[in-house]
Each structure stands twice: as structure tokens, then as C-alpha cells.
Amino acid sequence: MNKVLFFAHLRDEAGHESVEIEAAGKTVAELKQIIAEKYGVQKLDTSMTAINEEFSSNDEVINEGDTVAFIPPVSGG
């Protein structure tokens, strides 16, 4: 299983802080599509993705146990 984290407006859209989903073997892009459909989350295409707290590209493959976080454009500072 994989833990998927949502932040900022994505969290509001998803209605969850995090969900558990089976994503091993899928690419980030594939997971984004699944999440968009299942949770009605828009704007994943303008979000960054982190796997295990490191930025990942859309074609990276998710492993069993990885934590995936969708990271909207940041606004700290």
C-alpha cells in the first residue's frame, strides 16, 4: 500500500489529509489520473509530486510502501 498526502487547496478538494491506495508499479502521472478521478481533485497537473519527501518527475515509478505527496505551488516566505 501507499500513503498519499494532500496539501493546501488539494486537501480541501480531496476532503482528506491523506488516503491509502495501491500505487506500486504505477508512474506518478498514472497515479495523478487515478486520484483525479477517484477524489475529484483538479489541478494535479500544476502540482509537484514528492516521493518519500523528495521531488519526483511524472514518469517516476512508485514502489511499495512509498509515501507520495502532491504539492501545489508553494507560497512560503
Binding site: 498526502l5 496539501f7 493546501a8 487547496h9 480541501d12 506518478v28 502521472a29 489541478k43 497537473d45 500544476t46 502540482s47 509537484m48 509530486t49 514528492a50 519527501e53 523528495e54 521531488f55 519526483s56 518527475s57 511524472n58 505527496a69 504539492i71 501545489p72 505551488p73 508553494v74 507560497s75 512560503g76 516566505g77
Partner: protein, 154 residues
């Protein structure tokens, strides 16, 4: 503990103390404060949220980048999360270097990088609503899914 996410008000001096060194001739600090008026709109307060463990890692990465680029630099950064009122401090960046130009440039590099790669978000609360603020209303999509490394030191 030079890189922290804080839930309580930040003590500026305590951040500065982390970068004091005998070989420093200059310490610069950047203090980001909550401004009341932005483009004619009145902010009541902000909520900052962070992906904390990753945010700390990314602050550490910024410190490492600075030490690679500016010889002898020491860096400390604390970013606050939670509710902040007008004039409250959201972030303190302290950089010490042997010579002053480096201290300014490295500090500025730090705030620009924070706004690029550190997973922290602010939600603005106005009299007539509230909104999570993206990178200038998401005019910057990330086609590759992650931010590109940019050289900010022209």
C-alpha cells in the same frame, strides 16, 4: 537545528545566534512579516501550513546550496506555521559570511529558493473570503512535475 518549522512566534535573535562566527564580518537577516494591504486588498490574517519533514529537508538543502556557492557562509532558517496576524513574523533567514556582499546575495538566494522548493503554503483571509495562495495564482505550472534548478545569482 539550524533549519526549523516553528509553531510558536520566532525569536529573531535566537536565529541570528546560530550563525555567529569569528570569521564573519557580516550577518544579514531577512524577516518576512505579514503585510496588511496587498494590491488594495486588506488581509485580516494568514494561516501557514507545511509538509513539515520535507520542508525541513528542503530548508537544509537550501543551506547546503548556499555553502557550496558562498565560501564560509553559515545559514539558519526558521519558518512559522499556524495563524499569523498583521506584522507577525512568518520566516527568519540569517546568513553570516566573511564579506558583506556575500551575506546579502546568499540571503536573497535563500528566500527565492524558499518560494520555489519548500513545501509551505499560506491561506489568506480577507474580509470577504479566504484562499490558498499559489505561486502567483498558479501562473507557474511545473511541466516536468518538479521545479527546475535555476541560477538566481546573476
Amino acid at each position: 537545528m539550524n533549519y526549523e518549522i516553528a509553531k510558536e512566534p520566532i525569536n529573531v535573535q535566537s536565529v541570528i545566534d546560530k550563525v555567529v562566527q569569528r570569521d564573519a564580518g557580516a550577518i544579514t537577516t531577512f524577516i518576512g512579516t505579514v503585510r496588511e494591504m496587498t494590491k488594495g486588498k486588506k488581509t485580516l490574517y494568514l494561516i501557514y501550513d507545511a509538509y513539515e519533514p520535507m520542508a525541513v529537508k528542503k530548508l537544509e538543502q537550501i543551506g547546503t546550496e548556499i555553502q557550496e556557492r558562498w565560501n564560509g557562509a553559515q545559514v539558519a532558517i526558521t519558518h512559522r506555521v499556524g495563524r499569523l496576524d498583521i506584522t507577525d513574523i512568518a520566516v527568519v533567514i540569517a546568513v553570516s559570511t566573511p564579506h558583506r556582499n556575500d551575506a546579502y546575495e546568499a540571503n536573497r538566494y535563500a528566500i527565492e529558493r524558499i518560494k520555489e522548493i519548500v513545501p509551505i503554503w499560506k491561506k489568506e483571509h480577507w474580509e470577504d473570503g479566504q484562499e490558498w495562495i499559489g505561486n502567483q495564482l498558479e501562473t507557474v505550472p511545473y511541466p516536468t512535475g518538479k521545479p527546475e534548478e535555476k541560477d538566481l545569482n546573476e
